[in-house]
């Protein structure tokens, strides 16, 4: 016969401000033979016991304003008082402290003054949550301004594409959370004014509320992770390293400050912790990702055979000795599955030219990308410009001194920069044949006739 499970862990799918609903849940678990043994920020651990009626109380304790000490003397004093009053301490989860009593009649409540309780909840949980939501809204608002319309860089990898698409959704989500927090505080104050008790809340409703407000960040998190995984598998490690690097450094800061304070027995280490965090965050903000991950963090070196190398004729002769300076970069995303960029010196007299090729998932996306590329500094050639009659393409545009040309055809874009004559028939023939007529470019190298 299968042995009965003795311990189990259950994730806390509930907001801290709904802590009163936890009491109902814990009492229900005890009645079903599961007694709370320990808890942390993420889950509660239950141990199998005989089903029994147990009273639980979850209280908010104002942790003194220093971090690190696992069990400050103030917390011990508070627990001793609660235990003397008949409440047995189980464990703590951040500000939340869990107590139980097996007495038939529950002991006196831990909080008996509504105003004091409301003040503790406000300073310990509510103020911090509101502050973090407001800061997040401000950061997101500035990101929204910088990410819209979605620029070419963001379209070139899945992580940034998803990030740009999800920013508005996350912004709306944070506004909803802020409204919810304000409503909770308003209701709390109303209860204080009416001298109503903060009764245990409905656990089912609290879970639904947490699910409703939690499903959006979960969806965003899963999509974001999928985007990063896609980039990682697709060879765009740079973006992944840059994004994963930030939380890793924040975690390292936290661990370092914990280690320092443990080593030196520093009690009031707010300054130390905040100082370390600010210094490292500033470092992250100041250092561009390229300094951490190398230039672009993408493929570099000789051009693979599957990509056309433009050389000879109007392009000038590709010089073998310049091969060391030759660079290519590839990237791909769901919206732009094919992209590569080639840079190399043709010869010292003619200077350097480079080109970039994009293939989007649809002509619509390609047109959007083309417009964004031109948005920055360029424009289409005027309809009556002779270049339009020379090129058999949908649109052709340029930037600045007309040595930087953008060509759109179906779902493809070619961007060429260099001292070239874009009215040269040979050049036009090369580009149209290589990039716009053939369905697949396979090891085509243009050489001088």
């Amino acid at each position: 016969m299968k042995s009965k499970e003795k311990r189990k862990r259950v994730a806390w799918n509930i907001f801290e401000l709904d802590y009163k609903a936890m009491e109902v849940y814990l009492e229900d678990m005890a009645l079903r033979g599961w007694m709370l043994k320990e808890t942390n920020l993420f889950y509660a651990t239950f141990e199998r016991t005989d089903p029994k009626k147990v009273h639980f109380t979850v209280d908010v304790f104002e942790i003194p304003k220093y971090k690190g000490e696992k069990d400050p003397v103030e917390a011990k004093e508070y627990r001793d008082l609660c235990e003397a009053a008949g409440w047995n301490y189980i464990d703590g989860k951040g500000y939340l402290q869990f107590f139980y009593s097996e007495a038939e009649k529950p002991p006196k409540p831990i909080q008996t003054d509504l105003e004091t309780e409301a003040r503790i909840v406000s300073t310990s949980i509510w103020n911090r949550r509101v502050a973090s939501v407001i800061v997040s809204i401000l950061i997101l608002t500035s990101l929204l301004f910088s990410h819209f319309p979605i620029g070419p860089e963001n379209l070139m990898n899945n992580t940034n594409t998803l990030l740009a698409l999800m920013l508005p959704l996350f912004w709306v989500y944070l506004i909803v959370v802020l409204v919810y927090l304000v409503l909770v505080r308003y209701q709390m104050q109303k209860k204080v004014d009416r001298q109503e008790i903060f009764e245990s809340r409905n656990y089912g409703k609290a879970r639904k509320r947490a699910w409703f407000l939690g499903v959006i960040p979960l969806f965003l998190g899963v999509s974001f992770a999928a985007g990063m995984l896609g980039d990682l598998l697709g060879g765009n490690q740079g973006i992944v390293i840059a994004l994963v690097g930030t939380p890793v450094i924040i975690l390292a800061t936290h661990l370092a400050s914990r280690w320092i304070q443990k080593d030196q027995q520093i009690k009031n280490d707010n300054l130390l912790y905040n100082g370390l965090t600010i210094v490292l965050l500033l470092l992250i903000l100041i250092l561009p990702p390229s300094m951490i991950i190398g230039e672009k963090g993408r493929g570099q070196g000789p051009l693979p055979e599957k990509y056309p190398l433009l050389s000879g004729g109007p392009w000038g002769d590709f010089e073998e000795e310049a091969a060391e300076e030759f660079r290519y970069y590839t990237q791909s995303s769901l919206l732009v599955p094919e992209y590569y960029e080639v840079r190399y010196p043709v010869n010292q007299q003619e200077g350097i030219y480079n080109y970039a090729y994009y293939r989007a998932i649809s002509p619509g996306v390609a047109e959007y990308l083309y417009e964004r590329l031109l948005d920055e500094r360029g424009q289409d050639f005027r309809e009556d410009h002779p270049i339009n009659s020379l090129w058999d393409v949908e649109r052709i545009g340029f930037i600045g001194s007309r040595n930087h040309v953008f060509i759109l055809q179906d779902d493809k874009i070619l961007q060429i920069r260099g001292n070239l004559d874009f009215r040269d028939e040979e050049l036009i023939e090369d580009v149209e044949r290589l990039f716009f007529r053939s369905s697949q470019q396979e090891g085509v190298i243009v050489t001088s006739p």
């Binding site: 304790f61 831990i110 003054d113």
Partner: protein, 107 residues
Amino acid sequence: MKNGQTRNLTEPMYYILLILTNPHHGYGIMQKVHTFTEGRVEIGAGTLYSLLSKFTAEKLIRIDSVGERKKTYVITEKGRDVLEKEYQRLQRLVRDGDRILTRERQS
């Protein structure tokens, strides 16, 4: 009174200060308030802890002695002033109530 400091005392605040005219430890305060008010005013452990911290920070009470697991607290001069003022205020309230309610009863 400085901003953020206790203004009018709530019932639990009043009784804690009143009981601390003699030194008591935390749980002793809870019991004493219970017996003194014949169970009318109950102070929970969390509420008491929070108020003791607040009063200590505002220098209305101070730690009198520290035992193995218990601290005893006692009211300070400043705390006595606040308590005295609250007592005067409550007396005025009762007197004013008396004046009107007694007159009503007599008429």
